[in-house]
């Protein structure tokens, strides 16, 4: 366990002078900000874990089954059996739904976590009562869990017991959770509008002293600077890669896809099954090349944004400076390793894929390490606050 060198981080000094010793109004027990930060980090960590499990146990197997389905389709074309073609494409659609819903569940869980962290950041600028903010935070986190759960279940529940023609109960759950997220964001936007309106009034006219939350502490520490700078550089690298991909590969890949499919169909029609199988393999390689480029681009940008968001909560991470730095290094290291080795999967195959998964694990470990620090900080605050309450 990390060595603890002081009872509270220096940043605890952001608590106003007239508050109870050790208290921090910006991080009050079960406050909206606390819910958003805990819930946000937990959602991101769970989303990353799900993504790693998906990559290891489902992704490659699913791609192989898609290839098998295309080979079967080419055989059906060669045999002149249009009904079998339709049957194969129905199976292919099922495989794509299986893969797509899992990718979507992974992405939506992480994005809900990002939004939660973002909302924690902007709480001082939302002019709503504390109770309303807290209820909205609880609703947001619950919806952030239900949305990816609903998406994940779509493939398994299907239309079982559904009164609708095309929408199953899992879709209803996912859509309802999505609607609740939009509702929370809309109310937050309204609260921000109220904040801007009140700012235009004179300070004396500010009606409710309970409303403003304290801003996040302005700490200029190495972990915070490293996360901010590192995060911005990661986003920048992601953009540079995106520009490179769009400029040199995107159009070529699009041309190649239709060309490969055309050659596949021609070979199958001519009864040349070996050539058709070769084209199916080419199609798989192309799909792999696109997938790794898009995954590298999106992951490096997402990790950059994550690092920037985590820089804001560093004052709440109750760990020694040494351990705070370690978690930052682990997180930034993993944020570079995962996208780089995802790209290298094209050359080095599963070895690079395994290293990429370790990168993802490093991000998760860094994230959980910080979450533990925040839990320790909040626990310390709560104990100090209850002790102060008992003394009074």
């Amino acid at each position: 366990m990390p060595a603890i060198t002081r009872p509270f981080p220096d940043s605890a000094s952001f608590a106003p002078a007239n508050s109870a010793p050790g208290s921090a109004p910006g991080f009050a027990p079960m406050s909206a900000r606390r819910l958003y930060i805990f819930g946000g980090i937990a959602l991101i960590a769970a989303g990353l874990l799900f993504g790693d499990i998906f990559a290891v146990f489902i992704l490659h197997q699913n791609a192989a089954r898609q290839g098998e389905a295309l080979v079967a389709a080419s055989r059906a074309v060669a045999a002149g059996n249009a009904a079998a073609v339709n049957e194969v494409f129905s199976q292919l659609g099922n495989l794509l739904e299986d893969r797509g819903t899992k990718v979507d569940a992974h992405v939506h869980m992480i994005d809900a976590g990002y939004l939660a962290m973002l909302l924690a950041l902007v709480q001082p600028y939302i002019a709503l009562s504390r109770q309303t903010k807290k209820s909205l935070a609880a609703l947001f986190i619950a919806s952030g869990v239900l949305l990816p759960a609903g998406i994940f279940l779509i493939h398994y529940v299907g239309l079982t017991g559904s009164p609708f023609a095309a929408i199953g109960w899992a879709s209803v759950l996912a859509d309802s959770a999505g609607a609740l997220l939009i509702l929370v964001l809309t109310v937050q936007a309204w609260g921000f509008w109220q904040y801007l309106r009140r700012r235009q009034l004179s300070e004396a006219e500010l009606p409710d002293p309970e409303l403003p939350d304290p801003e996040l502490p302005d700490e200029d520490s190495m972990p915070r600077r490293a996360l901010l700078t590192g995060g911005t550089i990661l986003v920048l690298l992601g953009f540079l890669h995106g520009v490179y991909y769009a400029g040199t590969l995107l159009y070529e890949h699009e041309r190649m896809e239709t060309a490969i499919l055309q050659r596949l169909i021609n070979a199958a029609t001519a009864g040349n099954l070996d050539a058709a199988t070769t084209e199916v393999n080419n199609f798989g390689s192309l799909a792999g090349a696109r997938a790794v480029n898009i995954a590298a681009h999106s992951h490096i940008i997402e990790f950059g944004l994550l690092a920037m968001l985590l820089s804001f909560v560093q004052p709440f991470v109750f760990l020694s400076e040494k351990w705070k730095r370690r978690w930052v290094k682990v997180l930034l290291g993993g944020s570079v390793i995962l996208p780089v080795f995802v790209l290298l999967e094209l050359k080095f195959g599963l070895l690079a894929g395994g290293i990429a998964d370790i990168g993802g694990l490093m991000v998760m470990v860094g994230l959980v390490g910080m979450l533990v620090g925040i839990l320790r900080y909040s626990g310390g605050l709560d104990v100090a606050e209850s002790a102060a309450g008992g003394a009074r």
């Binding site: 079998a84 073609v85 494409f89 939009i182 936007a189 921000f192 520009v243």
Partner: protein, 152 residues
């Protein structure tokens, strides 16, 4: 926030009114291409394959524009909260912020307009300019964050 709201509303209307039809059309075209080939109707097979290619071209760009609008808006919200930490003079900071905003709006817009004019050079150039603005602004921001706080 305005860009994020716009990006989300665009995504919502696309998901509700266009996406399912587009996906059905895309999958249907590919299946039809194979099915027509099985019936030895090669002309219809090729037409369906071309239709698949065009639909996918549009779909990829629609989704990209939506996700880039929202993503860049989230990035700007985060940077907005801490932009005073970008250690440059106020004038340079404003220029960086304007570049980021202009690039974030222009780049996805140029991408989405490409769905109406496939392969138009002007739109490709606009996308390059937009992404270039974002890249330069981000590089400046990273540099500004890394600079020590004594010279601000």
């Amino acid at each position: 926030m305005a860009l994020a709201a716009f990006g989300m509303i665009y995504g919502l209307q696309y998901a509700l009114f266009v996406e399912h039809q587009t996906l059905d059309h895309m999958g249907g075209s590919l299946a039809q291409s194979f099915s027509a080939a099985a019936s030895r109707n090669l002309g219809q097979s090729q037409a369906a394959l071309e239709q698949y290619g065009e639909t996918k071209y549009d779909y990829v760009r629609q989704v990209d524009a939506h996700s880039h609008w929202v993503g860049l808006a989230m990035l700007m919200i985060v940077l907005g909260v801490i932009f005073e930490r970008v250690n440059f003079s106020e004038g340079i900071r404003q220029m960086v912020a304007f570049s980021l905003l202009a690039g974030s709006a222009l780049f996805p817009l140029a991408v989405i307009l490409q769905t109406y004019h496939h392969g138009a050079l002007v739109l490709k150039a606009l996308a390059v300019v937009g992404s270039g603005l974002v890249i330069v602004a981000l590089a400046a921001t990273a540099w500004g964050f890394a600079r020590p706080h004594t010279t601000a």
